[in-house]
Symmetry: C2
């Protein structure tokens, strides 16, 4: 990234395509090596082009969190989609049914009888059954059944529900609480086997644990999203280096009101307020002395070393704390292409909140 960047307006989100493709390749290689299928989460890039690049590299499908994202990806030709979400309510179930009719493989997750009942009602008369995986709470304390026994009970319910087919087990994050995920999933799968239920897939995920991921003798598939762009939270956790961060916010210094302070034109509307447990709001590449100490909507406040002042008009490249949410804040991003060009692309699945 260099000269052509001077010609674009800030704040901008710039993705280095070569780094992104290298990140895709590297984690696909890891999964291939440890015997895990890879199903990338498209929430990070929200781009059909990168979803296709992930498939070309060897991924066996994609993960979405929202039907709206899956619809956009299906429009783009992606045809093997897992929606890791409880789909609830007649409007969403109707959309899910329509989506199932136009992709070759669709699956969702569920963690309760109520959700399964809704799915069954929507798919009872469908041409093909819907695959439903049981979400397991292995310590993440979000959604998910609480015990292996509950997982078995819900799997049995799915396997007998009209229009549905039991698709396996799903959890997030990979490690669970204090590494309890593997034990939970292993116990659940053993209970399924004892009950005579086939468990075709056991899927876990999360970029923080990507490099230590392995089957643990139970996982068949891994889901990761952030790894394509990487971000400050992953650098801080030792998962990648700054050189692996493909997604960067380009900002301009608009004020240097005091010797120890500068202000940039990137605030929470660009970097988001996500901290992910970190102090400050991003990393300014090439400026280890700078700290982004505060954000308001359109301003980022930097603590500056008075011995290394910034100039108004100077441009800075920032690795955000959490890159996935930044993709959602730009209608269009800039792609620094492998041939040295700069291409503006719409973020296909941005803003698909439903």
């Amino acid at each position: 990234m260099s000269a052509p960047l001077d010609s674009i307006e800030t704040p901008a989100f710039v993705v280095d395509e070569a780094i992104a493709l290298r990140n895709i390749r590297a984690f696909q290689d890891h999964c291939d090596k440890v015997g895990l299928k890879l199903r990338p989460h498209i929430k990070t890039h929200k781009l059909i082009r990168f979803a296709k690049a992930q498939i070309r590299a060897g991924a066996n499908g994609i993960t979405c969190q929202k039907i709206g994202e899956a619809e956009v990806m299906a429009d783009g030709g992606l045809d093997d989609i897992l929606i890791t979400y409880n789909i609830v309510g007649p409007l969403k179930l109707a959309r899910l049914r329509a989506l199932a009719g136009r992709v070759s493989a669709l699956a969702v997750t569920a963690d309760s009888e109520a959700v399964v009942a809704g799915l069954s009602q929507a798919f009872a008369l469908a041409a093909r059954p819907l695959r439903v995986l049981v979400e397991c709470d292995t310590g993440g304390k979000r959604c998910g059944v609480q015990t292996p026994a509950e997982a078995l009970a819900l799997a049995l319910r799915i396997s007998t529900a009209p229009g549905l087919r039991f698709g396996g087990l799903m959890t997030y994050p990979a490690a669970g609480l204090a590494g309890t995920a593997t034990a939970f999933l292993t116990a659940a799968r053993e209970a399924l086997v004892r009950a005579g239920l086939d468990c075709p897939e056991v899927t876990s995920g999360g970029s923080p644990d990507m490099w230590t991921s392995n089957t643990g003798r139970v996982l068949t598939e891994y889901r990761a999203g952030t790894y394509i762009y990487n971000d400050r939270s992953l650098v801080q956790r030792g998962v990648c280096t700054w050189d692996d961060c493909a997604g960067q916010v380009l900002a301009t210094v608009v004020s240097t009101p005091a010797p120890d302070r500068a202000v940039i034109d990137a605030g929470s509307k660009v970097l988001s307020s996500d901290l992910l447990g970190l102090a400050d709001h991003g990393h300014v590449l090439g400026h280890p002395e700078l700290r982004i100490t505060a954000l308001s909507e359109e301003h980022g406040v930097l603590a500056v070393d008075p011995a290394r002042p910034l100039a108004i008009g100077q441009r800075l490249r920032i690795v955000p704390n959490h890159v996935c949410v930044v993709s959602n804040l730009f209608d269009r991003i800039w792609l620094a292409t492998e041939d040295g060009g700069l291409e503006q692309v719409a973020v296909d699945a941005r803003g698909r909140v439903t």
Copy 2:
């Protein structure tokens, strides 16, 4: 808000038009009473329709933070616009010059000679001079000149710069640090008068201080944005009540994995991660026992009283911590109109980051 809301998909952002119009009226009345002109900040609603409603109610113009927002508002017929931002760089200055040619009144702020030099270069040959106000840092520690003497020096520079006209003084937030704003602005204005410079406007702003705002014998104008919708941060500060909160997120319970926990389909992609100094991530109307304890992108985790369980499919109305950023996260919002209808409207100036 009631029956028709059952027919829309969640998560949704719903604005009660009657409450919004009442909020507009109430603060306009306050400003009229204390002798302040009101220049609402459109960042909260980003809607041409509400900007026009604010003008109809008596506002003397609007405030924008970005040229992109101002362009959208100009397209919609708003023709008196203050952009409270340092406009930096040739691309932005060209857009500013074009914008000046199609509205009847345009002003910007500046806090440095570098910014003034750029503005002057862009407007030196313009048909009309650009009004430039000096931004004063009265304790907010963002942009702004640091002392009344600096304000005078920059005002003198503006007044002699080709293409520019000195427009007055601007600060944010209203109270400054420990109430120092009035003293700073008074001293700056007195210095201007002594130097023979006319100071047509002294403008301050911020919804938190709206009800205690008055001229303080120096202010001529007040800028406020959040007051049209209000939010949890303003309720917590005693500025308004829950009944005054026009902007609400409608969410659905999608999981009740444990007796003390429920999960809704509104996460940080909807409520944002903005805390504004508060604990938790929003207020669930009618459920004082609930706390929104954690957000991920598409999930909100609620701490639930086991004696008052929630049901999957149940809908909740949430007042967000910071409503301005929520407007930016939805392409379209729902307006609960005064006649009891429900109308979907595009958020005109959403996502205008440049």
